[in-house]
């Protein structure tokens, strides 16, 4: 519990973070930047979990546990994504997303 700050403000913060992440994912041209945006999305949801746990259900700890879970999964997923990007780079010598539009009509 942070004194003087209600849950709405923190939820607003995480929502802004979420949509910044979405915006970044959709708009960035570099694959790594897209990855960073995905991290932002995931982190915003982590904060959401912790905050809701702390403010609305203070007696239990499921939210915090799940937050740790998400962080772990995010890390694994990032590693996987980097591996894909490295393999892709070997094929097309670029990390721009506009060079990956091959599987279309």
């Amino acid at each position: 519990m942070i004194l003087g700050v209600s849950i709405y403000e923190i939820l607003t913060l995480t929502s802004i973070l979420f949509f910044i992440g979405v915006y970044g994912f959709i708009t960035r041209t570099n694959l790594i930047s897209m990855l960073i945006s995905v991290e932002l999305i995931l982190n915003s949801s982590v904060v959401n979990f912790v905050v809701i746990n702390k403010y609305l259900f203070p007696e239990v700890l499921q939210g915090v546990f799940f937050a740790v879970f998400i962080i772990a999964v995010a890390a694994a997923e990032t590693a996987l994504a980097i591996a894909i990007i490295i393999n892709l780079y070997r094929l097309i010598s670029s990390v721009e997303v506009k060079d990956t539009e091959v599987m279309k009509y």
């Binding site: 994912f25 897209m34 539009e101 279309k104």
Partner: protein
């Protein structure tokens, strides 16, 4: 009396057709000729025997009995069914005699005429098919059976006219004959449908019965002012008009001369073309009683007009077969008008008897004329009058028999044609003066053009011939002699004893004043022809110039052919059929292809959704989530 053996008469030609048709390659020509002639000879003897027995033994209380043998062929519905069988009454027995006689003569004649031709056996098989069909038509017990054999006769005619099938003109003539008669048969068929529906039967016995539900009850249903039966009869008569080459369906007959001459003699002179007359005679009670003979008057006028127009055209034609074709049309007009002016009871039915009498005599002398013409054509290899002259020195038998036939058709006293024509004129005189006058004029014209032909072929200066013409072989001249005999003595058969509308005999006598008028007109015609044509002179050219434009019209057969060709080729084929073909390809089909094209265009438009860009997919994903969230929110709030 048991005359069921008559079934053999049509069956023998059928067997001949199957035999000669299936084995046409394997049977040598001369054997085919013998088989055909012997078969038809047997049929001929059988029909004479039948006639002898029937006419001398089948009367019951003065009325000729009708014998029917039939078996069900197809059942249409509870009310209507159709039989195949034989109807034996005076006119069918008479027609049996006529058809088998002429067919037999033609078979014997063809043995000589068609000798050396490639398809000799095929020709005899077609002749047998025709004989079978015509005999089946004559013996029909009901309208539908008659229609069946009517169509078969038409098909045989097609095959025979188109016998020389490598000649385009023959093929065209065969097609024309078939299609024109088919158009007329359309009327026949619709007429049958109408009459059978309203009367509940196809059978001649039931339809013609004086107590049957047609004759007693024709006023019951009417359509546009006339009884439905009247319409049915008019349509049925339309079929007769086509088959008998009456106007306006006559255009196929002159072209049908493309067939070999024995074919013209058999089909287009003596038998098939009289089928229309036979049809009216067969249904005569209906024609007479329904609507008080309204349709019968149509029959009379069409017959009279056809006979007049045909006689006029015949004067100008130069192809001898065409002259004979128009002559046939004119004489059949006589038969039709005789039926048309006839009444029913006893002596009143003189027209009916006269028509049948003329059918009989006409078959004899017209077949003779054609076979004689064939003899001439065989000798000098040309049909045109201009190529002929002075043949009496080279072909005496042909000459004498042709002369006998010409005298008969012109109505010279003592010959068969004189008697039959006189009966017709008497019937016309009693019932319709206008038609009588027209018929007398036609008699004169007949004599004129017939002797124009006679003098043109057998008298005058010799033309240049490829090789000296010689008389035809015996197998061709014997039929000529027999037919000549019939053309003279056939007239002495007391027809009114045997044939009459109400099946009772009556006596008819020679009406002397009318006979004198008719003979005089005929003799005038002969003399005129003598003056114009016996020796070479330019009287005919002067007459041609005198008539000017009218001559041109007549020479071109009043342009009927041109009008029909215009309607069919330009309008129906060129405009209607071509338009439909175009419409089908470019509108209906294009619509279907268009559906496919629209689908493809649509697909092209929306294929951009599959852009390959991950970010587009993510955007769609987010958008979908937002929409779903809004929906859930909305429901949650309410």
């Amino acid at each position: 009396m048991n005359i069921s053996y008559i079934i053999l008469v049509p069956l023998i030609p059928l067997a001949l057709f199957v035999l000669l048709g299936l084995f046409s390659k394997k049977i040598p020509p001369s054997i085919a000729g013998w088989i055909g002639s012997l078969g038809l000879g047997t049929a001929f003897v059988l029909s004479l025997y039948t006639a002898y027995h029937y006419f001398l033994g089948a009367k019951l209380d003065g009325v000729y009995q009708t014998f029917t043998y039939k078996s069900t062929w197809i059942i249409f519905s509870d009310k209507l069914h159709m039989d195949m069988g034989m109807l034996i009454d005076p006119i069918s027995v008479m027609m049996l005699v006529v058809v088998t006689t002429i067919s037999f003569m033609v078979h014997v004649y063809s043995r000589g005429y068609m000798k050396g031709d490639d398809g000799y056996t095929r020709f005899f098989s077609y002749l047998a098919l025709f004989s079978f069909s015509m005999l089946g038509l004559v013996l029909a017990t009901n309208l539908f059976q008659m229609y069946i054999f009517w169509e078969l006769v038409g098909a045989s005619s097609f095959l025979l006219i188109g016998y020389y099938y490598t000649k385009p003109s023959a093929v065209a003539a065969a097609k024309k004959a078939f299609i024109v008669t088919r158009f007329a048969d359309l009327g026949f068929l619709i007429g049958i449908l109408v009459v059978s529906y309203y009367s509940g039967s196809f059978d001649f016995g039931e339809l013609n019965s004086l107590d049957g539900n047609v004759i007693t009850n024709w006023t019951a249903t009417s359509f546009m002012g006339l009884s439905v039966f009247t319409w049915g009869l008019i349509l049925i008569f339309m079929g007769g008009v086509g088959k008998s080459a009456m106007m306006p369906f006559h255009i196929w007959l002159p072209d049908a001369m493309e067939g070999p001459t024995p074919v013209s003699a058999l089909i287009h002179a003596a038998t098939m073309v009289v089928a229309g007359v036979y049809l009216v005679a067969r249904l005569f009670p209906l024609f007479y009683f329904v609507e008080d003979g309204f349709v019968l008057s149509i029959v009379a006028y069409i017959g009279a007009i056809s006979s007049l127009v045909a006689a006029v055209i015949a004067i100008t034609q130069t192809d001898i077969k065409r002259v004979l074709a128009f002559s046939t049309m004119s004489q059949i007009g006589y038969m039709m008008l005789a039926l048309g002016v006839s009444k029913y009871e006893g002596h009143e039915g003189l027209g009916y008897m006269a028509s049948m009498f003329h059918l009989f005599t006409h078959a004899m002398f017209k077949a003779l004329l054609f076979l004689g013409a064939g003899s001439v054509i065989h000798a000098i290899h040309s049909n045109e009058l201009a190529d002929m002259g002075g043949l009496r020195k080279y072909m005496p038998i042909t000459h004498i028999t042709f002369l006998i036939a010409a005298l008969s058709i012109a109505g010279f006293p003592g010959f068969a044609g004189f008697f039959s024509k006189d009966e017709i004129l008497a019937a016309a005189f009693e019932n319709n003066r206008l038609i009588y006058v027209s018929s007398v004029i036609v008699a004169g014209l007949t004599a004129f053009y017939m002797f124009r032909l006679y003098f043109g072929i057998f008298w005058g200066k010799d033309k240049k011939y490829e090789h000296t013409p010689h008389e035809s072989p015996l197998t061709m001249t014997i039929p000529l002699i027999f037919l000549a005999f019939m053309s003279v003595f056939g007239g002495y058969i007391p027809f009114s004893e045997f044939i009459s509308a109400d099946l009772k005999s009556f006596t008819s006598h020679l009406d002397l004043p009318l006979a004198v008028i008719a003979s005089t007109v005929g003799i005038i015609g002969i003399c005129l022809a003598y003056v114009f044509y016996k020796k070479e002179n330019n009287l005919s050219e002067k007459a041609t110039q005198l008539f000017g434009a009218f001559y041109q019209w007549t020479f071109h057969k009043f342009y009927f052919d041109e009008i029909y060709l215009f309607i069919t080729k330009k309008i129906i084929f060129g405009i209607l059929a071509a338009a439909i073909a175009w419409f089908d390809k470019y509108v209906v089909d294009a619509f279907m292809i268009g559906v496919g094209n629209v689908t493809m265009a649509f697909s092209n438009q929306i294929k951009g959704i599959q852009s390959g860009k991950v970010q587009d997919y993510a955007m769609a994903f987010v958008g979908g989530v937002v929409v779903l969230a809004m929906v859930v929110f909305y429901i949650w709030i309410n």
